[in-house]
C-alpha cells in the first residue's frame, strides 16, 4: 500500500518532468535559431564538465537548508516565508563570528555555524513570538522581517566589517580556520554538503521520531485538537520557528564559509523563496528535500548554461524554468490514472483487504 503510493508519486513526478521538458523544447523550438543546441545545453549542460557538476552540487547545498526550514515551519502549520531574511542574517552572524574569534581549525567552523544558527533562530523566533503572544499573522510578519533583516545585515557588514581595501562592498576575508573546506577540486563543493545531509537526518528524526516533532505536526494538522490533547500550542509555534530559522541560517553560512570566504551579498539571494518551492515539491517531507533541491538546482543551472551558450533570452529561460517547476509541483496531476489501478486491486481483494 505505502509502497505503491511511493512508486506512484515517483512515477508521476518523472512523467511530469518529461512533459515539462517536452513543453520546454517546444518553446525553445519557437524562439531559437539553433533549438537543438540550446536545448541540449539546458538538459545536459550541467553534467558536461566536472566543474559544472560541481556548480550544480554547490547550488544544491543552500537549497537543502532552506527547503528543510520551510518544511518544518509548514508542518507546524506556520505559513512562514521568512527563510530569506533568516538565511541572510545567518550569513551575517556567521561572518561576524568568524571574524571576531580566533580559534583552531575545526572548532572555528563549528562556532561560525553555530553563529549562523543563532542569527537565523533569532530572525525566526520573532514572528513566532508575535504569533503566539498577540496572534500576529506570521505570513505578513515574516515577509516584512525579510527586509528588516536584509537592511540590518547590510548595515552591520558595511559599518563594522567592511573591507575598505576591496573594491566592492564586501566584508573582510574570513580566516582560513573558519572555512568549510572544498574537497573536490577543481569544483568548489565543500563540507557544507555533509552539514546539509546531517540537517536532513536531523529534521527527519526530529519530526517523526521525537515527541516535540510529534507535537509540532499535530499542531500543524489541527491546533484545536493539539490544545485539547494537552500540547502547548504557543510553545510549538515558537520552537518550530526557532528551529526553522536556525536551519535557514545554515544556508547563509554554507555559501559564506564554503564558497565566498567573505560576505559579499548585496541582494537577497532568493534561496528562501526557493525553499518554499522545494518544500512543496517534497510534500513537506525532509527526505524529499534533497531530491527536490537537486532538481531545482539542476533546472536553474541548466537554464543559466542555456542562456550563456545559446541565443535563448534570459527571460525565455525564466519562463521555461517556471513552467517546469509548475508542472512538477502540480498535486492533482495524473490522479485519475492512478485511481484505475487502485480500483482493480480493491475488487480483487474485497473490502478492507
Amino acid at each position: 500500500m505505502i509502497r505503491r503510493d511511493l512508486v506512484f508519486e515517483i512515477g508521476r513526478t518523472l512523467i511530469a518532468i518529461a512533459l515539462a521538458l517536452l513543453l520546454g523544447f517546444v518553446i525553445v523550438l519557437l524562439v531559437s535559431e539553433e533549438p537543438f543546441n540550446a536545448f541540449i545545453n539546458f538538459v545536459a549542460g550541467p553534467l558536461t564538465t566536472t566543474r559544472r557538476i560541481g556548480n550544480w552540487i554547490e547550488a544544491t547545498i543552500p537549497l537543502i537548508f532552506t527547503g528543510l526550514a520551510v518544511c518544518i515551519a509548514f508542518q507546524a502549520g506556520q505559513f512562514n516565508i521568512g527563510a530569506e531574511g533568516q538565511l541572510f542574517f545567518g550569513a551575517v552572524t556567521a561572518t561576524i563570528v568568524a571574524l571576531t574569534f580566533q580559534l583552531p581549525m575545526y572548532l572555528h567552523v563549528l562556532v561560525a555555524l553555530l553563529g549562523a544558527m543563532v542569527g537565523g533562530a533569532i530572525a525566526g523566533a520573532i514572528p513566532g513570538i508575535m504569533k503566539a503572544r498577540w496572534g500576529a499573522n506570521e505570513l505578513v510578519s515574516s515577509l516584512m522581517l525579510n527586509y528588516v533583516f536584509y537592511r540590518l545585515g547590510l548595515y552591520l557588514i558595511n559599518y563594522h566589517y567592511r573591507d575598505s581595501s576591496a573594491g566592492a562592498m564586501v566584508s573582510y576575508r574570513l580566516p582560513e580556520t573558519s572555512w568549510l573546506q572544498q574537497f573536490w577540486p577543481p569544483t568548489r563543493v565543500h563540507w557544507g554538503l555533509w552539514v546539509a545531509l546531517a540537517a536532513i537526518l536531523f529534521s527527519y528524526l526530529f519530526l517523526y521520531r521525537t515527541r516535540w516533532g510529534y507535537a509540532l505536526r499535530m499542531t500543524g494538522l489541527n491546533k484545536d485538537f493539539a490544545a485539547y490533547a494537552g500540547i502547548s500550542v504557543s510553545a510549538v509555534i515558537i520552537y518550530s520557528q526557532v528551529i526553522s530559522g536556525a536551519i535557514a541560517g545554515l544556508a547563509g553560512a554554507a555559501d559564506v564559509l564554503g564558497l565566498y570566504r567573505r560576505f559579499q551579498w548585496q541582494q537577497l539571494p532568493g534561496y528562501g523563496f526557493d525553499g518554499i518551492i522545494i518544500a512543496i515539491l517534497a510534500r513537506n517531507h525532509p527526505l524529499g528535500v534533497p531530491i527536490a533541491a537537486l532538481f531545482l538546482a539542476y533546472v536553474r543551472s541548466g537554464a543559466s548554461i542555456m542562456s550563456r551558450m545559446s541565443d535563448v533570452s534570459a527571460e525565455m529561460v525564466a519562463i521555461i524554468q517556471g513552467i517546469m517547476i509548475l508542472l512538477v509541483t502540480a498535486q492533482a496531476f495524473l490522479a485519475k490514472w492512478r485511481h484505475r489501478s487502485v480500483v482493480r486491486e480493491a475488487k480483487k481483494h474485497g473490502l478492507n483487504a
Binding site: Y214, M218, F225, A229, G230, K347, N352
Partner: protein, 517 residues
C-alpha cells in the same frame, strides 16, 4: 424500472483511493413521497452511497436513474439542479457567516450588483415559516446551537429546490425535543410532496418516522423491508448479524472519595449574560453523574471549563482536592482528566494524522512512549494495534489516516484514547454520538466498567435514554444553572425530567443540596 421509483441506484461500486471498497454493487431505490431509512453499522458505506448520489464521489461502476431517466452526476451542483439535496453528517457551514448568508450562499438575491440582505432575510424567514424550521436569520453560525445548524442545512437544501432530501444522521446531534421538532418538519415536508432518505443509528426513530428501510452491511445492500413489518430487534439483527443488547447491565455503585469538586462556577458572555451561574457539584470515584438538559443551557461551556479549553470568570475547580481552576488542558490531563469532546472533528482528532498518532495524542511524552529523545515507536505501534482491536475500529491498519474512517469509527478512535489513558475522571460529552447499535452497546459497557473500577464519570448527553440508563446520580441544567438533582437516577421519570429541562419546574435549594453532595 419498478413502479413509482423516484430514484434507482444500480450496481454502485465505489473504491476510495486508498483501496477501501466502500460500496460493492449496491442497488438502492426510493419511491416518490416516502421517507426511506438507510441503516447499517459504522463503515457499512451509507455516507459513501449518498455522496455518490450527490456527486461528491464518482462511482467506479453503476448507474443512477432519477425520475425515470439516467443521470450522470459529477458534481453537487448537478445534483442540486436535478433536485437532490443533502444534509451532511459533518456539517459544512461557514462558522463566521450568518444563518442567512449560509443559506443563500451561491444563490444570493441581488439588488443591481450588490447583495440584497433584506430580501435574503425575508426569503429565509418565509421558507422557515413554510416548513416549520425556526432559525434566527441574523445570528452567526458559530453562536447558534447544533440543532439550529441542522435546520440551516435543511433550509439551504430546500432553498435550492431539493425534492429528494438526503439526511445523513440528522438526529445524532439533537436533543429529544429538537428531534421531535425535526420530525414534525419532516412530516410536513413529506405532506408537501418531498421525498427523503434518512440515515440514523437510532432504530426507534427509524421505526417512528420511515416507510421503508434499506440495510447495508460491509459495503453491500443486504435487504429492504417495510418499516411496519419489522421490529427494532429485527433491524439490528440484519445490520449487525447478531442479537444486540439494547440495555446496559449496571452493577450498583459504590461511590468513594470525591474526585471532581466544582464550586460556584460562573461564566459570562461579553455582554454580561450568564452562561453559567454559580454551578456547584461533585463527582465521586465509582459513580456516574449524568447531566441532562436541553442543549445550549451551559453544558458545553461547563465541559470546556472543566477540560481547560475555556477560562471561567468565577468559582473554583478541584481534582482530588487539588485546586486547578483555569488550568491548561495538559495540566488537567496530567491530573487524570480525560475528555470525549462533543465535536469530534474539531477537538477529537487530527483527520490527516494516522489512527495511531491520534490514539497517542495525550500520552506521547509519557516514558512508556517516549525516551529521553526518541519516541518508542515499537511500543506506540503495539499499543495502537491493541486499541484498534479492543475498540473494534474498522480500518486497514493503525497507520490509516483518520479521514478515511467512517463517522462512527472516528468516534471510536476518540473513545479508545480517552478510556485507555488511565483516567481518574472521565468527562464524556455525547459519547455515543453517531455510532451504531453494536458500538453503543460496547461504549456503554466500557463506560460502566471503567466507572466501577473506581473512576469518576461525568456524562453529558442529549440522549435522554442514555443519561437515564447510565447515570447513578442525575443533575438537570437549565439556563446555566443546576435546577434539579436526583441522588438516585432510577427514581425519576422521563416526564418529570422534561419539566425541569424546559424550566417549568425547579427544585427547592434544600432538596437540591442533598443531591449535589
Amino acid at each position: 424500472m419498478s413502479m413509482g421509483s423516484l430514484l434507482e441506484m444500480k450496481g454502485i461500486t465505489k473504491v476510495y483511493p486508498n483501496g477501501v471498497l466502500a460500496n460493492d454493487g449496491v442497488d438502492f431505490s426510493v419511491r416518490k413521497g416516502e421517507i426511506h431509512a438507510l441503516v447499517g453499522e459504522n463503515g457499512a458505506g451509507k455516507t459513501t452511497l449518498m455522496r455518490v448520489l450527490f456527486g461528491l464521489e464518482t462511482p467506479d461502476e453503476g448507474e443512477i436513474y432519477y425520475k425515470g431517466s439516467q443521470l450522470q452526476i459529477s458534481s453537487p451542483l448537478q445534483a442540486i439542479r436535478s433536485g437532490i439535496g443533502m444534509v451532511h453528517q459533518h456539517f459544512m457551514l461557514a462558522p463566521s457567516l450568518t444563518v442567512t448568508e449560509n443559506i443563500v450562499l451561491g444563490v444570493e438575491p441581488r439588488k443591481g450588483l450588490r447583495f440584497d440582505w433584506d430580501q435574503a432575510v425575508s426569503k429565509v424567514k418565509e421558507l422557515a415559516e413554510r416548513y416549520n424550521l425556526h432559525v434566527d436569520p441574523r445570528a452567526q453560525i458559530r453562536d447558534i446551537p447544533i440543532g439550529m445548524r441542522q435546520k440551516v442545512e435543511i433550509l439551504k437544501a430546500l432553498l435550492r429546490g431539493a425534492e429528494l432530501l438526503v439526511l445523513d444522521e440528522p438526529t445524532a446531534v439533537l436533543t429529544p425535543q429538537e428531534t421531535e421538532e425535526l420530525f414534525a418538519s419532516l412530516m410536513e415536508l413529506k405532506k408537501q410532496g418531498h421525498t427523503m432518505v434518512f440515515i440514523s443509528h437510532k432504530l426507534g426513530e427509524v421505526k417512528q418516522i420511515t416507510d421503508r428501510i434499506s440495510v447495508m452491511r460491509g459495503g453491500r445492500m443486504v435487504g429492504v423491508r417495510n418499516t411496519a413489518e419489522v421490529s427494532e430487534a429485527d433491524i439490528s439483527r440484519l445490520m449487525v448479524g447478531r442479537d444486540v443488547l439494547l440495555r446496559v447491565n449496571k452493577p450498583p455503585a459504590k461511590p468513594g472519595k470525591k474526585v471532581l469538586e466544582v464550586e460556584s462556577l460562573s461564566l459570562f458572555t461579553p455582554e454580561g449574560k450568564a452562561l453559567l451561574d454559580g454551578v456547584s457539584f461533585s463527582v465521586r470515584e465509582g459513580e456516574i453523574l449524568g447531566i441532562a438538559g436541553v442543549e445550549g443551557n451551559g453544558q458545553s461551556e461547563l465541559v470546556e471549563i472543566l477540560t481547560g479549553l475555556r477560562q471561567a470568570h468565577g468559582g473554583s475547580l478541584r481534582i482530588e482536592g487539588q485546586l486547578c481552576t483555569n488550568a491548561a488542558p495538559g495540566q488537567l490531563r496530567r491530573l487524570g482528566v480525560s475528555h470525549i469532546p462533543e465535536d469530534r472533528m474539531l477537538h477529537g482528532v487530527a483527520v490527516d494524522a494516522a489512527i495511531q498518532e491520534n490514539l497517542m495524542a495525550d500520552r506521547i511524552s509519557k516514558p512508556d512512549y517516549s525516551g529521553k529523545v526518541f519516541l518508542r515507536t515499537k511500543d506506540i505501534e503495539s499499543t495502537a494495534k491493541s486499541l484498534v482491536q479492543e475498540f473494534n475500529i474498522v480500518a486497514r491498519s493503525p497507520r490509516t489516516p483518520v479521514k478515511m474512517l467512517s463517522g462512527g469509527n472516528i468516534q471510536k478512535v476518540v473513545v479508545a484514547r480517552e478510556f485507555s489513558s488511565n483516567p481518574k475522571l472521565v468527562i464524556a460529552n455525547q459519547p455515543t454520538r453517531g455510532v451504531d447499535v453494536g458500538a453503543i452497546e460496547f461504549i456503554h459497557r466500557k463506560l460502566v466498567e471503567i466507572c466501577r473500577s473506581g473512576v469518576a464519570v461525568l456524562l453529558i448527553s442529549a440522549d435522554l435514554n442514555e443519561v437515564m440508563s447510565l447515570s447513578d446520580r442525575l443533575l438537570v441544567f437549565y439556563g446555566g444553572r443546576v435546577v434539579a438533582g436526583f441522588s438516585n437516577a432510577d427514581a425519576v421519570s422521563e416526564e418529570e425530567l422534561g419539566l425541569y429541562m424546559l424550566g417549568i419546574k425547579a427544585q427547592e435549594s434544600a432538596q437540591l443540596k442533598e443531591a449535589l453532595a
